[in-house]
């Protein structure tokens, strides 16, 4: 009798093999993301990094030429194609100028602690690094705001955005930092910047 019970138990143990139907799964990785070319093209744009509603950096390319006054990159003036990449100063000024209505519609915004739109900006390139001078104190600048500035400057200075950026304000200088766009690195971004 006991042997028969044991056999029945073994049979019952086999049953979980046959969880019927389609089961739920966890989130499963499946290859890389979709890499696309976005408009406007690299040559005629400047990349500004705003913050999404949930605090992530979102790149927003703007066609150069309009000085931030246009609202649709696809209708950029034909002459802009010929213009050289915009200067870092102009790019930072555009960032400090805030998102366009279209960008705002997508939820992009500036970190409130960023200096105001009229803040004077100067840029010095030295030995592979860039130093951004702001005519404003860095004291209240949050980490997110600093990342906005660092990434904007880094991608303005080089296409790959790999240069270290030093922020200098009226009240001091921060350690050089690199732009880290890996979204999962967001909480750890301070580790790169605070060296």
């Amino acid at each position: 009798m006991r042997a028969r019970l044991r056999a029945a138990a073994a049979l019952a143990a086999l049953l979980p093999f046959t969880a019927c139907g389609i089961q739920e799964t966890d989130v499963i990785g499946a290859g890389g993301g979709a890499t696309v070319d976005v408009l406007p093209a690299r040559q005629i744009r400047m990349l500004l990094f705003f913050l999404s509603p949930d605090g992530r950096l979102m790149p927003s390319p703007r066609t150069v030429g309009g000085g931030g006054g246009f609202d649709d990159g696809r209708q950029a003036p034909e002459s802009a194609v010929e213009t050289a990449p915009p200067s870092v100063e102009k790019t930072v000024a555009a960032l400090l100028g805030g998102p366009t209505p279209q960008e705002r519609r997508a939820g992009m915004d500036n970190e409130p602690s960023l200096p105001g739109p009229r803040t004077r900006v100067d840029v010095a390139v030295s030995g592979g690094g860039v130093e951004l001078g702001l005519a404003a104190p860095l004291d209240g600048l949050t980490e997110r705001a600093a990342r906005q500035l660092v990434c904007t400057v880094a991608y303005a200075e080089s296409a790959a955005g790999g240069v270290p950026v030093t922020l200098r304000g009226t009240d001091g200088t921060r350690a050089p930092a690199r732009c880290d766009l890996r979204p999962d690195a967001e909480p750890a971004a301070t580790g790169t910047a605070s060296r």
Binding site: R4, L14, F17, I28, G33, A34, V36, D37, R105
Partner: protein
Amino acid sequence: MTAARGRLRRIVPFGLRTRLVLAFLLVAAVSAGTTAALTYREARNAVLVSAQDTAVASFREQVETLAPSLPVDPEILREYLYVLASKAKPHPWIVFAEYGSLRVSSSTRPTSSVITPGLRRTALTRSHSSFERVVKDGVPYLTIAVPVLTRTGAGDSMPTGLVLYAVMRMSDEQASVDALVTAARDGALPGLAIALVPALLAARGVLRPVRELREAARSMGSGRLDARIKVSGRDELADLARTFNESAAELERSVDELQQAEARARRFASDVSHELRTPLAGMLAVTEVLDEDADGLDPDTARAVRLISAETGKLAVLVEDLMEISRFDARAAELNSDEVDAAETIRKTLLHRHWNDRVRTELPDGIRARLDPRRFDVVVANLVGNALRHGSEPVTVRLGTRTAADGTALLVTEVTDGGPGIRPDVLPHIFDRFYKADAARTRSAGSGLGLAITQENVRLHGGTVRAGNGPGGGAVLTVEIPLGGPIGTDGSGTDGSGTDAAAGAGHAPGAGKGATA
């Protein structure tokens, strides 16, 4: 009766057949179940993996054909999503886009309730695609998240913040998987049913020899020693059958030899007693004459003559008893039953032996019983004679009736004496032939066969005789005979003391008829 029971095929709850069939079914169920389950698992996974891989690859491929302008315009994005939705593969899907705070979809609702926060978080924080299977309200959905990246330089890319989701119902896959379950079940159940056939065949193959063996054993038990089993095959059961046959043959031979030896011995005893009877008759006649003339002889010669006369008489009794026993052994003893008054029969016995003044009686009149008067006389005479010889007075004969446990009315005859009783070590042997209770007292008046003959006579009546000691210390010998006479004359009481021999009288029909209260 026994044969009918042998034919009867009972279904024993956990008999050999049930166990064999269960074992077969269990094996079949386990193997069919395991096979079906494993096959089902593999097939299901194959179906799902194929659909998922196709969907993920084709969705990513189609997303890569886009060239959105950033920041995306919701209206233009919606147009994109319509295009993506139209190229769904392998099944229709709904495409959702999330960009910052924008939520756009190819359906009427901008967001999906199927997309889990986990998938959303993975899509936003990792730069690789991912998918998740979600079951909502019993419907399985495949949700795919593809984050859109853009090139920043040679081989470098960065997330644009745009994530596209595809939500696809897996109804076809579910139908396929359900079909697999049905197929597995439809395959396994007939398999189980088919497994019953070999199970029953195997059970039959085992049970038939076992049944034959049982019947053969039973017929051997009931005395047919020539019962044999047909041996077929070379398996263990055939070995068992062969061994049984050999043992049966051996047993038959030994029993045969024993019976022959016993028959020879009986015939010898019978022949001897017959041969002795004729000369003894002559001797008795001579000793009677000598006895009469003994008074005229001188005293020594007279004593010798009287001794010879007495011993010759004893010898004659012994020879008579031996012949009686021989008749019992040869089963030649016959019962000449007659309906008699038991008390009257006993009184006659005591009167003929001139014992009526030495024996107290308690003989209620009116007890009628079917008896062989001659044999009953021998029984009573032996018991009373025994009590007078070995016990001491007062010797009492009581008559009564009793109803046995099975309802048979019994005539109870009890002979008690006032002696010291029978020693416990002697009790079991008291009905043995030539058994002497006192080894030193080799010479006694009796032939040594009296109680044995009593027992045989009682058995012939279908009754029992018991020996015991009464509360006062005297020996008590009790004879119980069915009032209605014996039913089976096969003398089933076989144990020496006869204590349980009543079984032979157990099936008297209408047994209660003769019972008196």
